[in-house]
């Protein structure tokens, strides 16, 4: 029984938790942009890739100077630099590209198409600078708990391994989310952002500077995207194309939670991540521990092969949209 629980924790819960945290951070960025700027930013996946790329380059720089994070990955030291460069780049695109359409009050779909153009440019830049190959940049300690140690401590047959990157992901995500909610709830700028998101005209009447709100939003979105991208890259590995594909689960998470609702984005991230992992996990191991030996299953007990994880995010998206059109937490619709 305990063995089954440990196997479940090891193969489903811990990976799901880490992946969910990464998706939640990505979805938060999407949802903030949607709330304030009122369009779905298709360039978000590539913003993540861009931020991660800058962080990787900075990590390599630090490593060549002989600086390392010890047990922790060096990338964490390089992260602020990555966020800074990404924020500057994103502010630049806003100034050069998006501001024009904002002044015109262009339709949301036009802004989405504009973000496709930005997506192309960012994707090309990332490929141009760092290439299309896979880059592993995690260093420092590999595991917080190794399977062998765990077995020795508990005397169970099944091991529980927690990788450093998974631990870092969850801790960082919690810190970031707490900081973000504190910012949105308590600071003057955060309050004006929420006011702007709820009712633009009213916010303008009360003297909020829209350009400033937009700039702060871009900076936060860039920071969230970079953090999410770096965490994902540390946990798995960096490849420009996978980041583009993350767009789907991230949007699914944001929409399932309700576009424009930060709390919803977090919930959506975990809903998507856990369903992906549970549906594509082969449950044979867990079930074998639970049932008597003669009833042990022959098959893998895998509902769907891992390659169909997109289908899972998508199915949840459709189900939620059909039955709760504004998402789990009431999002907005323009």
């Amino acid at each position: 029984m305990l063995n089954a629980l440990v196997a479940f924790l090891n193969f489903v819960f811990v990976p799901g938790l880490a992946y969910g945290a990464q998706l939640a951070l990505g979805a938060l960025g999407v949802t903030l942009i949607y709330g304030i700027l009122r369009f779905s930013n298709f360039a978000h996946g590539d913003t993540m890739a861009f931020g991660t790329m800058v962080t990787i380059l900075a990590t390599w720089g630090l490593q060549s100077l002989g600086i390392s994070g010890g047990v922790l990955p060096t990338a964490l030291i390089a992260l602020p630099f990555g966020i800074l460069v990404t924020a500057l780049f994103v502010l630049g695109t806003d100034r050069l590209v998006y501001r024009f359409y904002r002044k015109q009050k262009a339709a949301p779909t036009i802004l989405v198409i504009v973000s496709l153009g930005v997506m192309f440019v960012m994707n090309g830049l990332v490929r141009f600078i760092i290439g299309v190959e896979e880059q592993a940049f995690a260093d420092g300690g590999r595991f917080l708990i190794t399977a062998g140690d765990f077995k020795a401590w508990t005397g169970l047959k099944e091991g529980l391994a927690i990788r450093t990157t998974q631990g870092i992901t969850v801790v960082t995500a919690v810190i970031v989310v707490v900081a973000l909610f504190w910012f949105l709830g308590k600071t003057r700028t955060g309050k004006s952002m929420r006011a702007f998101s709820d009712n633009e005209d009213l916010a303008l009447l009360s003297g909020i500077n829209p350009e400033r709100v937009v700039q702060v939003t871009w900076i936060i979105a860039a920071a969230l995207a970079t953090i999410a991208g770096v965490l994902y890259g540390l946990d798995k590995s960096f490849k420009a194309f996978t980041y583009f594909q993350l767009l789907l689960p991230i949007f699914a998470a944001a929409i399932v939670g309700g576009l424009g609702s930060p709390l919803g984005a977090i919930a959506g991230g975990f809903v998507i991540a856990f369903s992906e992992v549970t549906v594509t996990y082969a449950w044979k191991k867990v079930v074998t521990y639970l049932v008597p030996a003669d009833m042990a299953p022959d098959g893998l007990l895998q509902l769907m092969s891992t390659d169909y994880k997109f289908a899972v995010s998508f199915a949840i998206l459709i189900i939620v949209l059909l039955f709760m059109p504004t998402g789990l937490f009431k999002g907005k619709s323009v």
Binding site: F39, V121, N123, I255, F310, L321
Partner: protein
């Protein structure tokens, strides 16, 4: 067609002629063939976006389905595959469809409450396991047949030209199913939904080896035009090539490409004529009325959802035909090479740059952007050689810049799209 538009088309034609003179006619025709196909895809997207304002970013999925139709219709039959598992596959798929139908019936027929949810989950679970129980052994049986070269259900051996309309039909059927579930959604939701469906279509094609061998690819599909090798061995052709003073190898490959260009051109012309007729008909006016103001159109008694579904199916069918043509041109189906940037977003760049809502614009965009997409690579390489000419040989920056020149094309496409949206938002040939 006025003078400005004719000039634009002439300029694009010049690009292709220039490529012929300065590079080779062979590569110019190669680009032209894919440009013709791209123009058809752009027509399909224009039907959906330009006529009706539907934001479909699942183009890749329909292109892939068109390609799948070629394999299913015209690949050689796999002996024994149908006997081994054909019935199981059909039965399994029918069970799957029945399950979904049953679930819909339960949802509609039962009154709200916990009982309905429980019955619904029960029906879905039972259906899923029944589906797997019938489907899995059949798949294993089929994939076991001669896996090195086949291991799939095989085609019907039909003429490949017949596979083009079939590709359209397959894409249309998929579009019907997608439209039924997703078309009621708002524009951004529809975009995400179609993006997801395209990924799922690709995932199915990559993983379901029984269908079209997945990533092991189906090669040497039949061709509607003669083979180069056969031409080079026919005495008549050799004499003809000698008459023109051409090397037989070059001549044969040019003739083959011209044959393809003729076929593709005929399809393109037919589709443009049909699209233009549709656009100018009362139906086209109604579509644009719906696009511009759904509420007003609905008040006039137009069935908005039904019209949206109709135009979504039509556009997807056009894209499916183009996908089938592309697979025919390559004579192979390689699901691993389909990426959204190339097959969805590039088509969108074509439509926006050409002019959404205008068929001629979409065609022009298809030709121009495809030419640019291919030619940016050599141009970028030349540019990089010029930029790096002053640098020391073997310096890392020089090597890096020259190696990465290939990625210039994405940046260029993005810039072209952004510039057109900024300075000529209605495209090169705007809607009238």
């Amino acid at each position: 067609m006025n003078r400005k538009n004719l000039t634009l088309f002439a300029l694009v034609a010049l690009l292709f002629i220039g490529t012929g003179f300065f590079q080779s006619w062979n590569s110019s025709l190669g680009i032209l063939n894919m440009a013709l196909i791209s123009a058809i895809m752009a027509l399909g997207v224009n039907l959906q976006w330009g006529y009706a304002g539907l934001f479909n970013v699942g183009v890749m999925g329909f292109v892939a389905l068109g390609g799948l139709a070629v394999v299913l219709a015209s690949a050689e039959p796999a002996p024994g595959a149908w006997n081994a598992g054909g019935m199981g596959i059909v039965l399994g798929l029918m069970l799957g469809a029945l399950t979904i139908g049953g679930a819909i019936l339960v949802w509609r027929g039962m009154s709200k409450g916990k009982a309905r949810v429980l019955v619904l989950i029960g029906v879905l679970l039972a259906g899923f396991f029944a589906f797997r129980a019938v489907f899995d052994p059949a798949v294993t049986a089929i994939e076991a047949i001669n896996p090195a070269v086949q291991g799939n259900i095989g085609g019907l051996g039909l003429p490949v030209l017949l596979a083009w309309p079939l590709g359209g039909l397959l894409a249309a059927a998929a579009a019907w199913a997608i439209g039924k579930t997703a078309l009621g959604l708002r524009s951004d939701y529809l975009a995400i939904a179609t993006l997801g469906i395209a990924e799922i279509v690709l995932a199915v094609m990559k993983n379901e080896d029984w269908l079209a061998r997945g990533v092991k690819n189906v090669i040497s599909l039949p061709r509607p035009v003669p083979y180069e090798v056969d031409l080079q061995q026919s005495p008549g052709f050799l004499a003809w090539a000698a008459d023109w003073g051409m090397d037989p190898v070059t001549a044969s490959s040019i003739v083959v490409k011209l044959c393809y260009a003729g076929l593709f051109g005929a399809v393109l012309v037919a589709l443009v004529v049909l699209s233009e007729l549709a656009l100018k008909s009362p139906w086209g006016r109604m579509m644009r009325a719906i696009r511009d103001n759904e509420v007003a159109a609905e008040a006039m008694g137009k069935h908005v959802t039904r019209r949206h579904l109709q135009v979504f199916i039509l556009g997807s069918a056009v894209i499916g035909v183009a996908g089938a043509m592309m697979t025919t041109l390559d004579s192979q189906l390689t699901p691993g090479t389909y990426t959204p940037l190339r097959f969805t977003f590039l088509i969108w760049v074509m439509v926006i740059v050409g002019g959404s809502g205008n068929n001629w614009g979409a065609v022009l965009g298809g030709f121009l952007i495809w030419w640019l997409w291919v030619m940016v690579e050599p141009i970028g390489l030349g540019l990089m050689s010029a930029v790096t000419a002053g640098m020391a040989d073997g310096s890392w920056l020089k090597v890096h810049l020259q190696d990465s020149a290939a990625h210039m094309r994405l940046i260029t496409m993005g810039l072209v799209l952004l510039l057109v949206l900024r300075f000529s938002p209605r495209g090169l040939i705007p809607e009238k």
